[in-house]
């Protein structure tokens, strides 16, 4: 891919200088394409470094600043609905210029390439009743995770799970990488979860979470758009123009990270507290989900708040319906095992299909 100039954008990018990075890197003889690769995230807007623009607005403005041919550019994003959102943005803001856009399922590829394949434990533990029903791992203190913590505490569900709520110092017995976060530069009490590196081989205690439980209650990175509350204020309550509110209202997000891909990779049933229609999306690309174990109607609830509530109520119901023994039997039923194997195989084959963007 030597003809492609790939500019990787992350949450830590120096946004103000992005156009300069592009100009510096671009060689008109060498490069026939420029990929602005922001597949790590699914943001609606850029709201740091004094930039207050929707992500597409920012990308277009950056391209204008480069003075380069629009046809060179492809914007790659981590939001499943990238092309849909871009088409809406262009329509609502009456934007004539068009670049190529694409969704790249980076975290699927990363999970497949960089995570330990722990699926063998499914078979290995088939005759052992595990001590807990579910896992629930929480790093960054996002709203829906704090809500989850409050709910499971109130409903006394913690006893059914192996869990972390890192901001409340409910952790696994990690090594210095996590517990000793104070040694890390730029980490404070508020962002100490950044000491967690999800994409390397973890300590044994981490894997024991899966040995000890039957399914994952996944509090995905997003149940809304990124920076939802801030964006509500900026683009709905006080929009710069009515088009911003309109765009915010049609903007869709599905952002699937290693948290969910890991469950599939590890052959684990899961309930996902994530974006609207996450399960629907997975089904549309061929995965099977777990309506044979519990009701999955939560996935179709449009309201983020109500969907989160439905997920928690479902968790409560599952914990009060299944015993460890009945859960064991269910998970090791032919029906569920077939799903887990199917998903695992599909996860691997889809990952193989994808070109690796050299992370």
């Amino acid at each position: 891919m030597e003809d492609v100039l790939r500019i990787v954008i992350t949450s830590g990018t120096n946004w103000q200088e992005l156009h300069e990075d592009i100009i510096k890197g671009y060689d008109s003889v060498l490069h026939t394409e420029i990929w602005l690769d922001f597949s790590t995230e699914s943001w609606f807007s850029i709201d740091n470094q004094k930039i207050n623009e929707t992500v597409y607005e920012f990308i277009h403005n950056t391209i204008i600043k480069t003075g380069l041919d629009w046809n060179l550019f492809t914007f790659i994003h981590g939001n499943v609905y990238t092309q849909y959102n871009y088409s809406k943005w262009r329509k609502i803001f009456n934007v004539e210029k068009e670049i190529k856009t694409a969704y790249y399922p980076l975290w699927h590829k990363v999970t497949s390439e960089m995570h330990l394949d722990y699926s063998y434990q499914n078979e290995k533990l088939k005759d052992i009743v595990r001590p807990y029903l579910y896992s629930n791992l929480n790093g960054a203190p996002r709203d829906h995770r704090i809500k989850t913590f409050k709910y499971v505490t109130e409903k006394d569900l913690l006893k059914h799970s192996r869990h972390t709520f890192y901001w409340d110092d409910k952790t696994l017995p990690y090594s210095q990488y996590t517990l000793d976060w104070r040694k890390w530069p730029r980490l404070t009490e508020q962002n100490k979860h950044r000491a967690i590196d999800s994409h390397r081989i973890q300590e044994p205690e981490f894997y024991k979470v899966f040995d000890d439980t039957y399914f994952d209650y996944i509090t995905e990175t997003l149940t809304t758009n990124e920076r939802f509350t801030i964006e509500l204020d900026k683009y709905v309550q006080n929009p710069p123009s009515p088009e911003y509110r309109q765009f915010f209202e049609v903007f869709k997000t599905i952002f699937i990270t290693e948290k969910l891909w890991r469950s599939i990779f590890y052959k684990r049933p899961f309930i996902v507290m994530g974006n609207h229609r996450t399960l629907d999306y997975l089904q549309s690309i061929g995965f099977k989900t777990f309506d044979c174990m519990w009701n999955e109607e939560y996935d179709s609830i449009d309201s983020n708040n109500l969907r989160e509530d439905a997920c928690l109520e479902l968790l409560n119901e599952v914990c009060n319906t299944y015993t460890l023994e009945t859960m064991h039997k269910k998970v090791y039923s032919d029906e569920v095992q077939e799903i887990l194997q199917h998903n695992y195989d599909l996860f691997r084959s889809l990952a193989d299909d994808m070109d690796l963007l050299d992370f």
């Binding site: 492809t74 499943v80 990238t82 694409a102 790249y104 549309s284 690309i285 994808m354 070109d355 963007l357």
Partner: protein, 442 residues
């Protein structure tokens, strides 16, 4: 943009389609059949098939899918469970989560369908796309042809190119197969005016009912009146359509033509104009068009108050859906002459000439009075046409040479347009203001 190439770089390549695959076309006839003309039950399997198609795409791709439901060969209203088809189409959108109204298009041969839809719609909900499509133009548009003969070779079509004025043995041609009341009425009027001999006239099939009265025994004895159709050999239908325009009825693959011969050339060469008896004149093709008055067997046309009988003027009750009925149709009968450069007078739906001008064709108002085209009442319009034809039949050879000379640029313009067409002409919502055509003339 080559979607495949782009997607393969970033995505699960097996899921992504070529751009053209986003446009899915469904023939409504495959679901409702051809036995009925207007009234249907909910077409079985239609919703599920659309849903299945949409869901065959990955979730984020579904917004790119466009579903077009074709019914362009007919202009008849499509009434499903007593309601306009629009109800069903909006129900489909409602039932399929990833199908938004703008992704669904309904195409019908009725070019005024947006007027009806606009009257039906009357709400804030998002519109589906409703399109009046001139599907039958395809048959006489060489660039659009993709017909193959028995050997699998693409065939051409022969058409007339020499419009040099000359004295011709007949004034007009009128070719009539299906015995619609307006065609039977034409026979009555031509016979009454002694004009049958002035034209190359065929009335291949016969029914006793005309617009103003039933045919007499004496008139019926004159029928059928055919030109070169051997009714004993095969049906007139098979003869005309199977041999002379097999492309219209999928007979082409049985033929060995390299070029479909122009069987109509003899009519064009031997008459000055064609009196085109279009399929529709604005009367519903249904038993509901029959007058209910005692001893009246007239047909009715829709006016605001109800269905008015063309004979006894009784106002009959309209079915509720018909409050917004309006049907405008142009068929291959017209397009054939456009390609072959033969002037036309139309017995058709109101504003046929006006629509042709809107589409960029030239009509014949510089040669003769075309004001009949603006007459709303189908019988009045019909009578105006008959009066015009009668006048034209009185023209001398010298006058016809002059008219032919004047017609040449019109005919070449139209032929050239037919030769250039590379897609079927359509009337979309953008062509209208609140459903009313934004008339302009070429």
């Amino acid at each position: 943009m080559n979607y495949n190439t782009q997607y393969n770089k970033f995505n699960y390549k097996r899921f992504y389609r070529h751009e053209q695959q986003y446009n899915h076309v469904i023939s409504l006839q495959d679901y409702i059949g051809t036995d009925n003309l207007i009234y249907y039950d909910i077409p079985e399997g239609l919703i599920q098939d659309i849903k299945d198609h949409i869901e065959s795409f990955v979730l984020e791709e579904r917004f790119k899918v466009n579903i077009t439901i074709l019914h362009g060969l007919e202009s008849d209203p499509c009434i499903i469970n007593g309601e306009w088809i629009f109800s069903l189409l909006h129900d489909i959108v409602k039932q399929i989560e990833d199908l938004k109204p703008h992704q669904l298009t309904y195409e019908t041969g009725n070019w005024n369908i947006n007027k009806i839809y606009n009257q039906w719609h009357q709400s804030d909900r998002e519109r589906i796309n409703v399109v009046g499509v001139f599907e039958l133009i395809r048959i006489y548009s060489p660039k659009m042809w993709d017909y193959q003969n028995r050997s699998g070779d693409l065939v051409d079509i022969d058409y007339r190119t020499d419009f040099t004025p000359k004295i011709k043995p007949y004034v007009f041609t009128t070719l009539n197969r299906a015995p619609h009341p307006h065609r039977m009425e034409l026979f009555i009027q031509l016979n009454k005016l002694g004009l049958l001999d002035k034209g190359m006239c065929s009335f291949n099939e016969v029914k006793p009912d005309a617009l103003t009265r039933s045919l007499t025994e004496e008139e019926l004895n004159l029928l059928p009146m055919t030109l070169d159709v051997d009714l004993n050999k095969s049906s007139a239908f098979d003869h005309i359509y199977g041999e002379t325009m097999p492309q219209a009825f999928s007979y082409m693959e049985e033929k060995e033509y390299d070029v479909v011969p122009n069987e109509f050339n003899t009519f064009f060469e031997n008459s000055y104009f064609t009196l085109v008896t279009e399929t529709k004149i604005g009367i519903l093709r249904s038993s509901e068009s029959s007058c209910t008055a005692d001893n009246c067997e007239g047909v009715c046309w829709p006016i605001e108050k109800g269905l008015e009988c063309l004979r006894c003027k009784k106002i009959n009750e309209k079915p509720h859906w018909m409050k917004i009925y309006d049907e405008k149709f142009i068929t291959e009968k017209t397009w054939r002459n456009m390609l072959n450069g033969h002037p036309m007078v139309w017995i058709g739906t109101m504003h046929t000439a006006k629509m042709l001008k809107y589409l960029g064709f030239k009509t014949f108002d510089t040669l003769w009075d075309e004001s009949y085209d603006d007459i709303e009442n189908p019988l009045d319009r019909f009578n105006a046409v008959i009066s015009l034809v009668d006048n034209l039949c009185k023209k001398t050879d010298e006058e016809w040479l002059e008219i032919q000379e004047k017609a040449i640029p019109i005919l070449y313009h139209n032929q050239s347009k037919m030769l250039e067409l590379n897609e079927v002409l359509k009337i979309k919502y953008d062509d209208t203001i609140d459903g009313e055509i934004k008339w302009k003339t070429s």
